[in-house]
Amino acid sequence: MTFVKAVLRVMRRELKLFAGFRTFSTLSVGLPLVALLYFVVLIDKGVPEDMPVAVVDRDNTELSRQLTRMIDATPAARVAYHLSDMQEGEKLMREGKIDAIVDIPRDLEKDVFGNKQANVVAYINGTNVTKNGILDRDIRTTLYTFSSGIEIQLLVKKGISEKEAYDMMMPIYYEKHILFNPYTNYAYYLLPIFLPMMLLIFTLLTTIFTIGTELRNATAPYWLAAGNGNIFAAFLGKVLPYTFIFTILSIFIDVLMFKIIGVPMRGHKGMLLASDLLFVMAYQSIGVFIITLVGNMRLGLSVGGGYSVLAFTFSGMTFPLIAMYPAVQAASRIFPLTYYMELFIDQAMRGAPAGQSVDDLLYIAVFILLPLPLLHRLKRLCSDAKYWGKL
């Protein structure tokens, strides 16, 4: 029997297993689809809007009420409470009912028109850094705008014409060019990491499960036999059907992101597709590596599961890698996801030249070599009854 025939026979056997037991399809198709669609629904709006804030208005003049209205009009904030003292505000914040308190001082109107600087303080809940950042930006911008409006009035009062005053103000102004995520849409930050994260978890677990189940059920010798005793044929026949399934899922993720959500795609499509395929193969290879090393499904799943979830933090997509300790940055290199995300951002979002991502692609490919030195051990696992039947 030729090598190719042996591989095909193992693949046929694998398909029969896939059709015969629901666990295989649940793990490689059902749950991944549920997880992917969940995130698409979760980050539906993309930008948080109308977060509740309180205003403590000690001045209670037309001017302070104008400021309150301006804060209410920002996209991020909505003035949910008008309070008379801070204690009340602090309590509301502890109760989770507001995310910020804006404290408007007494004599705001009197001071600013009496050429005395007034100070408005915004207390923003830092427990959630994300909300804090968005509220901070919108409230501060509002206060700057408010201040500039008063500034013009003051200058006019001093006998400077409105046009002149306008020219004098804001001597430096900026034009913002947001590189690579022009809408600063939240979905564009999060989906590109959440979706591959789900894919890799299921790729890894499925691989460990499909091999582990042969050991647990003592069917490993039949698997090896289907491969005509050639462990490499048995290995290929087992992983290839799932390479196909997960690569299709990976392309489905691309379709979701680029076609449905509208994440920009500026770079080289071929590089991205190549990374999709290599990414799946890398995690399959790590799965084979782990299950062969520990030789039992239960421990294999625990170890593989633990490893897979860690990749999220170490990809640097939330807390950036450059802020982490050098040792942690080095550790991030043992997760194919880190390279995959780098390539994704370079190619999809930044439109970097294809050559820029070749090294990322090669690093991902290195992981595919992992099972090779262990094939000998895998064969022993398949032939020696002492490795079978462990719970």
Binding site: G20, I43, R94, M168, P171, K176, I178, M198, L299, P320
Partner: protein, 446 residues
């Protein structure tokens, strides 16, 4: 209930407790999840986030003005807490290439007329190119550049106003009549670890308990312990000793975990501990109970011990997100956020953060506290029902894992549960010996 049966149930309870402890400590997989995972995850995540903030992000300044004003502006950028002027390339094109090579994370472009505009009563344009592919990086780079600009503006305006005849003291007030101060409370430096770790810790406690309890449930089912440990009886009460016995064990196990989390981890990494002990303990009680009862409910669904990890592992990130503490709840559909409340983690994380990070009292987290007690009640009932169902099923012959082997020999396919006992005769002896192995397995659990 007569006296003997009450005694019987008490004996059964003690038997369940002893048994559960014995199996947990013999099982490397369960130990790894219940104790190892908390230790490993909490430490690795905490180390990754320990720097807390991103400082000195490298940016490029393209200075085409080459004047004292532009150099002063670049110096101010470099002095901003989050920025570092790493390069001064000669052209914007060059700067963009540096950006693509990931050498800088933002670009500030100062045009030729920069100084001329500032000194004349004109407006000077600057170009800000901020990288929005990483959220935190974008926020910091952009906010810092804007802050430097505002600061420079105030100084320039003051000079201009004085030249226009506004008296010196007033000029300052006029240049910025309403000063904006923004304070981040409960997390003054906007630390990322301080933000995300408390939530992660609460979630880890839930996830490890659910997976660990699920694994043991699978073990019980595979070893037929439901059959041997549950007293016969058709009443729902029949499951009570098992539910209570198992809960006792997992409650004690989670106390150990909490001791580590609050006794060591929290202190070592310096997360805010503003909660009073009674508030924290009082809140964690229904949290642990609801998680344990949910775990017991789920464990009665898992047919095999590996199923709990296969099905529950991926839920960690989705559950963290649905709690609304990372992705703001305002970005997700309201129905989804509300649906998330069926998991103890949603109310658990929200309430815990407010108590421990923000110093709230139990009364101030009342909605979450009540939610957790409701979940405790509901999941207690479902756990009793689930385990009783298991006990009844346990009286039937257990599915033989080796039935699956039939598939590989071209014999009839078992059903989805693998419930068909193979009838083949060609390898009967081998199967017999393997069944023997699986029957003696209880003693072979490491």
């Amino acid at each position: 209930m007569d006296k003997t049966s009450a005694k019987g149930r008490l004996r059964e309870y003690r038997l369940v407790v002893r048994n559960e402890f014995r199996y947990i400590f013999r099982d490397a997989g369960v130990l790894l999840i219940l104790f190892g995972a908390v230790l490993i995850y909490s430490t690795l995540y905490a180390l990754a986030y320990h720097p807390e903030v991103l400082r000195n992000v490298p940016i490029a300044v393209v200075d085409e003005s080459r004047s004292p004003s532009s150099r002063e502006f670049a110096r101010k950028l470099d002095a901003a807490p989050n920025l570092r002027v790493a390069y001064k390339p000669t052209s914007l094109e060059e700067a963009k290439q540096m950006f693509l090579r990931r050498e800088v994370n933002g670009i500030v472009y100062l045009p030729k007329e920069f100084e001329k505009n500032i000194l004349g009563n004109e407006k000077a344009y600057i170009g800000v190119y901020a990288d929005a592919s990483y959220f935190l990086m974008y926020k910091q780079v952009f906010m810092d550049i804007v802050a430097v600009m505002m600061d420079s503006n105030e100084a320039i305006e003051m000079k201009r106003f004085q030249l226009a005849g506004v008296p010196g003291v007033q000029a300052q007030a006029v240049s910025d009549p309403v000063r904006a101060t923004s304070r981040s409370v409960f997390n003054p430096y906007g630390g990322y670890g301080t933000f995300v770790m408390p939530a992660i810790l609460v979630l880890i406690i839930q996830q490890t308990l659910l997976i660990g309890i699920g694994m043991m449930g699978g073990t019980w089912r595979e070893l037929g312990l439901y059959r041997t440990l549950i007293l016969p009886g058709r009443k729902y009460l029949a499951a009570l000793p098992v539910v209570l016995g198992k809960s006792t064990v997992y409650f004690l196990v989670s106390l150990l975990t909490l001791l580590y989390v609050f006794g060591f981890h929290y202190k070592a990494f310096g997360y805010p501990m503003n909660g009073r002990f009674l508030a924290v303990a009082g809140f964690l009680l229904p949290y642990l109970l609801s998680v344990i009862f949910l775990g017991l409910t789920l464990s009665s669904v898992f047919k095999r011990r590996e199923n709990s990890i296969l099905i529950l592992l991926f839920t960690s990130i989705p559950l963290l997100m649905i709690s609304g503490v990372s992705v703001p709840m305002e970005t997700m559909p309201a129905w989804l956020y509300n649906l998330g409340k069926i998991f103890p983690s949603s109310a658990g994380i929200n309430g815990f953060l407010r108590i421990q990070t923000m110093g709230a009292s139990l009364a101030e987290v009342k909605p979450e506290f009540v939610t957790l007690w409701i979940l405790t009640g509901v999941y207690f009932l479902t756990a009793c029902i689930g385990i009783r169902t298991m006990a009844q099923e346990g009286l039937r012959p257990l599915p033989n894992p080796l039935a699956e082997a039939a598939l590989y020999e071209g014999e009839p396919l078992p059903d989805a549960d693998g419930n068909v006992i193979p009838t083949g005769n060609n390898s009967g002896t081998e199967r017999e010996s393997l069944s023997e192995t699986s029957r003696t397995m209880p003693d072979r659990i490491p």
